[in-house]
């Protein structure tokens, strides 16, 4: 996936919407910047398909040597698919954060919430600010 075409949350998740199947399906991952900031990831805790989350809920955990960080969904979501191979292939987060490193897919409950998320340019600006 092209990072320039994705939407971003302030908590560094990316989101892609696929409209081709009739109802909008969101794919969520974490940005290359977030992966870099986490450092060496040792474990991921992921949800089960069917789980419902409101916007801002923690849907999982990513653990690095130093800390445990929550994964937040920026939109209301019903999980339909989980990248179950990811916890055993954590290098995908580093090597391919926007493709192999996707985390969950789910049905969007309120597509207008996507519009409130940052585009690539705004997100870049946020990352630049965080670095200084």
């Amino acid at each position: 996936m092209d990072p320039k075409q994705l939407r971003y949350a302030e908590t560094h998740e990316w989101l892609y919407v696929d409209d081709s199947q009739g109802e909008p399906i969101a794919t969520i991952g974490i940005s290359a910047y977030a992966v870099e900031a986490l450092g060496d990831v040792t474990h991921m805790e992921l949800p089960e398909p069917g789980a419902d989350f409101s916007s801002g809920d923690s849907f999982g955990e990513v653990e690095s040597v130093k800390a445990v960080s929550d994964l937040y969904t920026p939109v209301e979501l019903e999980i339909t698919e989980v990248n179950t191979k990811l916890p055993d292939n954590l290098n995908w987060l580093n090597d391919s954060p926007y493709d192999q490193g996707w985390i969950v897919k789910g049905k969007l409950k309120d597509p207008s919430q996507v519009e409130q998320m940052m585009d690539f340019e705004a997100y870049q600006k946020l990352c630049d600010e965080e670095q200084h």
Partner: protein
Amino acid sequence: MSNTPLETPLHAWHQAHKGRMVDFAGWSMPVQYQGIVSEHEAVRKRVGLFDISHMGRLIFEGVAAGKLLNHLISKDLQKIPEGRVRYGFVLNEEGGIHDDILVSCLKKDPENPKWLLVVNASNREKILGVLQQLQQTEAFQSATYTDQTHSWAMVALQGPKAEAMLQPLVDLDLKEIKYYRTAWAELEDEPVLLSRTGYTGENGFEIILSAEKAEWLWKLLMEKGEEFGIEACGLGARDTLRLEAGMPLYGHELSEDITPFAAGLASSVDLDVEVPFRGQRALQEKREQEPEQVRVGLLLQSKRAAREGDQVTMGAGAAFAPLGKVTSGSYSPTLETAIAMAYLPRKYQEPGTLLSVNLRGKTNIPAEVVKLPFYERQK
């Protein structure tokens, strides 16, 4: 206290080399550069360089200053020969731990002895406060000491290659500086205080020198260390290394409410020294009582780490009441599993005892009590 963090003389270097700066004990310090695991492995297998200028450095000079220092710390200064370093404590009046410290005898001269006290960054102000308080009493009025924290820098060169790398740069045979010994040396004409000490469980040296020369030394060591595979290391790797080495960290395994007995560090207290020290009487009274909880090591059957505050139980499930709490925990890059230190009732301290750790109130992970340290270098 001001909210602006203090900066070490190496601050600009850290920033220019991708050091991720965090506020630690009032100082802006690098938590990592390339990554904690990479830095950790550099120290275990090759050599790593740490900026530890945030540690407090106090000099005590003269007979009166020696008396003051003797009263402050749990070690008998008279028994420490020149050029030796000792680990000890500053205790509170109840025998709890105010700080854990290193004391070095720089000069044994009975007319004018000289000592170096290295204290935790987080406790420096507290120790200075105790010293001021002690100086109010007549016995210590004439004692003087100087806080050299800002005028001197301190770095740690740690790892199996540290000695080979440092030897060509200094004017003395490093073999003469045995473990927990210290000596002045010239490092390319610059006077430095070397000691074979560290907080990693590896062989290595801590180096003190003038703050103005800190960046020069750091750059020199990074350059000379290149062929040895040196890495600049942050506080993240310092923490995982010391945890594997079973070393306590103030604020985690050590606190005002924990005695050296509970921490398993009674050997760092000269309990019957004639010159009384702060907290001595309280600790003497506690000598016969067994501490309720003691420090233990836990090996988790998981890569997921227990963190400070996580509860240790007999087994998974609500039926098991909490026994104690994790004080430090991390993934161990050397053992490739999670390790932790915790305080538990004495009856659970036997290595091999099987327990359970509740991660953040959610998942239970089996854990085995093991003897500390988790990692010991091959000598």
